[in-house]
Symmetry: C2
Subunit: 256 residues, 2 copies
């Protein structure tokens, strides 16, 4: 199983939208995919029409209770080949609950070992912070996708997530090998957008996806229908671009 | 001194842009304003051209060290009548540092008591989470402004911030009296935007600002010039709308 974290402490850069639509696009290509909602907002869970408050057990129980295996909480979604480990607001208390636990940074990676033969790909949606939960996602992953808007604050934020990845690689034994940057909310008409893309591509060259996700209102509408954009409006720009992203991700050198 | 927290755990909804431009607009109206950067990303600090890493002391030192008064870190900005208490990435460790402190929720409100006679208005930028720092901001404030995008996830997120405000009022002695909702990134052309505005105004009626902040690329460009949009491009749509917001905030029933 290949595991990809969708992470960036900058808020609102398209982490959830990428986790939902990339996992759906890869599942539609035939891969067996597990999407993990590690954000207390539980928006990935909501995007598949699942209300976290209606669930008896969620990822919260798996993280804080050593005896709850992740298989106990996994649900199927309305997309074939795609399962979900739903999140819950209680995850916001996980920081304190994990504070004194031994090996607290690798709780998630240990839990995933029990299901890694059931899936080809695992995608983790993270919250907009570099908290212990996000560190767990980085330790559990082979690759990180960093969605960024083509704005000034976004570039500044890149340094912080890259520093954190460096620390995770140094301190914890993990298989975090590569990172890739994905431009989101792109509006080609603005000079700012073109400037930021040029600067980031110059600095990071082939670590930036060829695929770019443009501003597309259907991406913002789809969650209210409880479905990824690929089923909500299969031929809109957002759907085409996330399919193109899935092609890039699935053809990447690390074997799925 | 009136204290307003700009808070919403949903990422990227315009908290920093509102903190920066509202505080600048109120200062330009003649009020003495202090803006506090309580977000470890320190983007409000960056928006005034200040590099947090170059500073010897920041809000981090004030929060974790009982003997550092907030006056020790306050700087003037490039806007007359506007001072800043700069943030720093080290604030992300404050959660653990405060975990065992007595009365850890009111650290900020205690520190602000020592400068409340120097300012008419204090505006606090929060991080996209309901962490101990955001709770500190709520406990220290008289009012909360909740910026929301006109998207589906934004409405779901409102419930979480309202729940947190309820808990803060119940558990801690504080002066948190009112909340107001501000629409940001509005694009009048989309049905989604009109639908969300209608739903939220129906439910929250006069708790929603009349002023609406539209999508305006100058707001995203201004931080790269280290200045609020009111000085970067004084006549653009974003600048006019933040001036109108300042008029609504400064005329609100609670005396400044
Ligand atoms: N390319 C796009 N075009 C238009 N709207 C988009 C696009 N991508 C995401 N959105 C919408 O913008 C908002 C922010 O995106 P999203 O919630 O996915 O970001 P996030 O990084 O997960 O946010 P958070 O930091 O709060 O977790 C959402 O309402 C989403 O529906
Ligand atoms: N009305 C607007 N029109 C266009 N761009 C905007 C607008 N408001 C904010 N922006 C830009 O959108 C991005 C997100 O806004 P901002 O950083 O202020 O949100 P935030 O809520 O503070 O994010 P975070 O949750 O990370 O703290 C920034 O790059 C900002 O410059
Ligand atoms: Mg998200
Ligand atoms: Mg911010």
């Amino acid at each position: 199983m290949k595991t990809i974290a969708i992470a960036n402490q900058k808020g609102g850069c398209g982490k959830t939208t990428t986790a939902v639509n990339l996992s759906a696009a890869c599942a539609m290509k035939g891969y067996r995919v597990l999407v993990i909602d590690l954000d207390p907002q539980a928006h990935t869970t909501l995007a598949f029409g699942i209300k976290a408050n209606d669930l008896k057990v969620t990822l919260y129980n798996v993280i804080v209770n050593e005896h709850t295996p992740i298989a106990d909480i996994i649900l199927t979604t309305n997309v074939v080949n795609l399962d979900i480990a739903p999140g819950h607001i209680l995850l916001s208390g996980a920081e304190m609950e994990l504070a004194i636990r031994y090996a607290r940074e690798s709780v998630l990676s240990e839990k995933l070992k029990t299901v890694e033969h059931n899936y080809d790909l695992c995608i983790i949606d993270c919250s907009p912070s570099l908290s212990i939960l996000t560190i767990n996602a980085l330790v559990a992953s082979n690759e990180v996708i960093i969605p960024i808007q083509t704005h000034y604050y976004a570039i500044e934020g890149l340094k912080q997530i890259l520093d954190s990845m460096g620390i995770v690689k140094q301190r914890f034994s993990c298989n975090l090998e590569s990172l890739r940057i994905l431009f989101t909310f792109v509006d080609e008409r603005t000079i700012l957008s073109r400037d930021v893309q040029r600067q980031v591509r110059e600095f990071f060259s082939d670590k930036v996806f060829k695929t770019v996700i443009h501003n597309c209102v259907r991406l913002a509408e789809a969650p209210s229908a409880g479905a990824p954009v690929l089923t909500y409006d299969a031929n809109c720009k957002g759907a085409n671009e996330y399919r193109a992203l899935a092609n890039e991700v699935c053809n990447h050198e690390t074997e799925i």
